[in-house]
Symmetry: C2
Subunit: 137 residues, 2 copies
Amino acid sequence: MSGNTRIAVAIHIMTSLACAGESMTSAELAKSINTNAVVVRRLLCLLAKAGLIECTAGKSGGSVLSRKAENISLADIYNAIAPEESLFAIPEKSANRSCAVSCKMKGLLTKVFGQAEDAVRNQLENVRLSDLAKNIS
Amino acid sequence: MSGNTRIAVAIHIMTSLACAGESMTSAELAKSINTNAVVVRRLLCLLAKAGLIECTAGKSGGSVLSRKAENISLADIYNAIAPEESLFAIPEKSANRSCAVSCKMKGLLTKVFGQAEDAVRNQLENVRLSDLAKNIS
């Protein structure tokens, strides 16, 4: 499967923190996800920047949720990651000025993809982090 | 912007064909999109496989819409491309068997992402190829 795995990893991180109920290090999270701690730390920075987690540096440091899992939706997690990782990308190549379709395409796609991303956000808003955590036995 | 540009390019191809109202070659389409004809031909194959266009080989060949633009939705185009390019990918790495979150994550993400992709399909179903084409002057 191709595509963007960062949202999946971010949701995994947040579910791990919700289930742990205590601080976890990036190494512990990386072990659960079976990925590199560098990947985890980069996502932790985005999640902290969005106010979803609090990170403490140092040897005894780690990350915790900044509010209850009931009060965090998957849309919150998506929004924390999405600015760096759009679902639909528009090619960056310049338009062919002699082609009417080419000249209008970027504007049309921006509108259509914006509506599609809003639909994703609305759907993910309905799922709470606690909904995922309660499925973990 | 990172991410998947193939859906954008496929929509551009289909809008070009809708506006042209006649057969276009992959070279002509590539010129409008400002991309490589190989990229275009790969997408044309998927669009033809989905029954949205008809392609004729040979020197005088090219591609045409197989039905009216009013009867093609952006969801039809998305569905033609999406099997090869999921919006949300789940990491292919195996789960950490000693971690309950890790063991359950793939199943939970598959459900959540499936619902999000359905939301995208429903949104794109509301937009007809003719809606885009009529914006091209």
